[in-house]
């Protein structure tokens, strides 16, 4: 199949079978790639021309960054044209007074980390897919990760955004201003809009100062119910930069696959990993009393405090290797969030409901408890066919999402809605809210050409 001649006049186009298969999907499963062409614009003007061509020809466009998304937002399943940003991968400049790094949408996240480090600065948005994910996609998903507790999500680090709307207008939003009280905040509307309102082409990123010293603790808990008290105690007295949790089941999976040792000898049903940022080289004096307070209150039954950067990393590995360690068991994943104060109650209700209704399923919980984010992983029983397992999990989702709704949580915490969660959106957003989103979508994308069918059916 050769691409339309008009399209080839705008920028590089590919319709090779390999490219169609590769650029038509992201890291999410169960969506078959089926794009009609892949385009590779190199300038904002080319992106604008693509949008105007798509409007004229009623062609749907799917924006494509590093395609590391887990909700199918960057998949092309219905003959869409995929707009890859990989040729718009330049770091455009750093302004040291504003501490602003301006980049094209296709710059890889890790390239920003490295560039910032060379400048003696720090870009704090950090997550597993950083080696492949692109800044434009990070904006579209409002990416989260392990540093949200301390630094907020992507939204907090975007001070300006250039986008091409579905109408073909180039908007320069907020222009790197710190204070701006001139009407509605369209910048934040774009962050997390998953490519449905416009195509992100340039981004102003704020950098900051890297933390000087960090110390990591892993604490054992008999009950997840102790986590909120421990979190609160550390957060109120120290500069807490991460608070993660995982279960003994999750730890066992990690230890079985990696050459790591237990954080301490005793086994406990749940573990909390805490990271504390500090100015002084040695923090023992202020850390020990807080640790002891948590032990004396009966919240913590055992624990370890990192004595070196190497040990800190080893402790982090116990948490970071979980996802990979579960892979062999084909986990069915959900990424949800509730208020931090509700994580323990929510998790308890989830576990007891699944124990009752789905007794043959093993449910592994872990996540960023300090920002209310729980990764729910259901492991496939060995004896069960994969298709049957997925079908039952889809059914079980309704049970899970109803509990999320009861706790006023989000059916997607940091992975977005895409195709995967759009039927579940109503568990977290009310009918009037969804109608308003659709009206906003039509305002920015009057012909419905941008990533149609993602987030909701417009």
């Amino acid at each position: 199949v050769s691409p339309p001649k008009e399209l080839a006049e705008i920028c590089k186009v590919s319709t090779s079978a390999d490219d169609l298969a590769n650029y038509g999907k992201d890291w999410s499963m169960n969506y078959a790639a089926n794009p009609s062409a892949i385009v590779f614009p190199e300038t904002i003007e080319e992106v604008q021309k693509l949008v105007l061509w798509a409007r004229k020809t009623k062609t749907s466009l799917v924006p494509s960054g590093g395609r590391t998304g887990l909700s199918g937002a960057a998949t092309a399943t219905s003959k869409e044209v995929v707009v890859s940003f990989e040729k718009m991968n330049k770091i455009l400049g750093f302004e040291p007074v504003d501490r602003t790094l301006t980049v094209q949408a296709g710059v890889v996240t890790e390239a920003v980390h490295k560039y910032a480090e060379e400048l003696g600065q720090f870009f704090p948005v950090d997550f597993a897919a950083k080696g492949s994910s692109q800044i434009g996609g990070n904006v579209a998903t409002n990416v989260g990760g392990v540093r949200v507790l301390r630094y907020g999500s992507m939204r907090s680090w975007v001070s300006g955004l250039t986008v091409v709307t579905g109408a073909g207008d180039i908007l320069k939003l907020n222009k790197d201003l710190v204070k701006n009280a001139t009407g509605y905040d369209l910048k934040n509307l774009f962050v997390g809009s998953e490519g449905t309102l416009g195509l992100v082409v340039e981004v102003d990123l704020k950098l900051t100062t890297a933390p000087k010293n960090t110390t990591v603790l892993v604490l054992g808990m008999e009950s997840l119910g102790s986590a909120p008290s421990i979190f609160k105690t550390f957060r109120n007295k120290l500069n807490l930069s991460a608070c993660e949790f995982f279960s003994e089941i999750a730890l066992k999976k990690v230890l079985a696959l990696h050459n790591l040792s237990r954080p301490f000898e005793s086994e406990t049903p749940f573990y909390l990993l805490l990271e504390v940022e500090h100015q002084a080289d040695d923090i023992s004096e202020s850390l020990f009393p807080v640790f002891e307070e948590c032990c004396e209150a009966g919240w913590v039954s055992d624990g370890v405090i990192s004595q070196s950067a190497t040990q800190a990393q080893s402790l982090w590995n116990l948490r970071e290797f979980i996802s990979e360690s579960l892979s062999p068991e084909s986990p069915y994943k959900n990424d949800i969030s509730v208020k931090v104060s509700q994580v323990a109650a929510f998790s308890r209700e989830l576990e007891s409901t699944f124990k009752k209704d789905y007794s043959n399923f093993q449910v592994v919980l872990f996540g960023h408890i300090g920002d209310g984010n729980v990764h729910v992983n259901i492991l496939k029983p060995n004896a069960m066919e994969k298709s049957e397992f997925i079908a039952i999990c889809h059914e079980a989702d309704k049970t899970l999402f109803a509990i999320v709704e009861k706790y006023e949580g989000a059916v997607s915490a940091e992975h977005g809605v895409g195709l995967l969660k759009k039927e579940a959106l109503h568990f977290s957003r009310s009918a009037p809210e969804i109608e308003l989103m659709k009206t906003i979508k039509r305002a920015f994308d009057p012909d419905g050409i941008l990533n149609p069918g993602k987030v909701f059916d417009a």
Copy 2:
């Protein structure tokens, strides 16, 4: 005039001349109060009934908080019904794990400061009108103030918002979630929307830990052009929590009216006030080298470092008393912002243009230079009639705003658009952006009953 019977059945109504005059205006000047009635709802349901009544009767509503706004956003000039939130003034509760304080819209800002302090917590949004302004108004204006450099504006501290839209729907936005990737961010769309999309009825506020120690410096500069370098040097090496500037002209006005002494003996054309946050009691060891670096580079010609909390407050007074000290000279004020890196060049161009075109005007510049916010005050020449002065200033605005546009700045930094800046909105927002705002307005407020004529004419 007696209020419509249906209105009186919803909640308390007043049509007394005093109330009409009082509730019909805010702190901005030049707008004559002319509301038809003032209503005082006490519950969300009453607010919803008011909106539905307004839709039915095609009555315009003006939301009213502490009415400390400076852009006329809370003025009722055309027989609107003013919705006062002063009876919705309850602090509803504090959740210590989430560190979330839930308040009704009519709670006064300073009451939040005091409540937070009693809890051992800190609410960092701080500005001159805090004794009267209300939380709902702070949200509607996305209020800024002196701590934005360190803590961000109001937006950063709102984790959940309950609003009644112009359609009469009650929306619970973001529900105090830290991570939420379920579609468009309507919460941030409401922050700064100046009552044109919906009425804010309840707010979830995040609290934090109060700074332990702060030290204040005032530095003298021969040129404002040194400010960015000083700012950058301090910000990169210390935990800078405020960076304010003022001119010798502004300082002279303050000293003439208040019993304060100069920060140091020598006079310099410009001054920078820096506040540094620190953990250790004594910060001399890390502060002196940075101060010396700035002196050796020739950026700073003299300076003083606070040795006590009392002295720190005295130095802050030099900056905080400026506005009040200018009052007797009927200043014509503009509140604008540019990128931090552009403040010096912008200010120079502004001063030289005014010296050329309006040589009889004295222009006093001061503001939050660390977040690019410049307060431009033009003083009325003694010999000039006030009406002539205002007329010339309105003309001069076009010159000022054209310079703002050239530097890609905001014609309103933190005071909002309201009535005052709506004709100037196009200097900061493009035509497609303004059209998109109007479409969004119609989606939330289909009958155009909410604060019509504010921000733009829909």
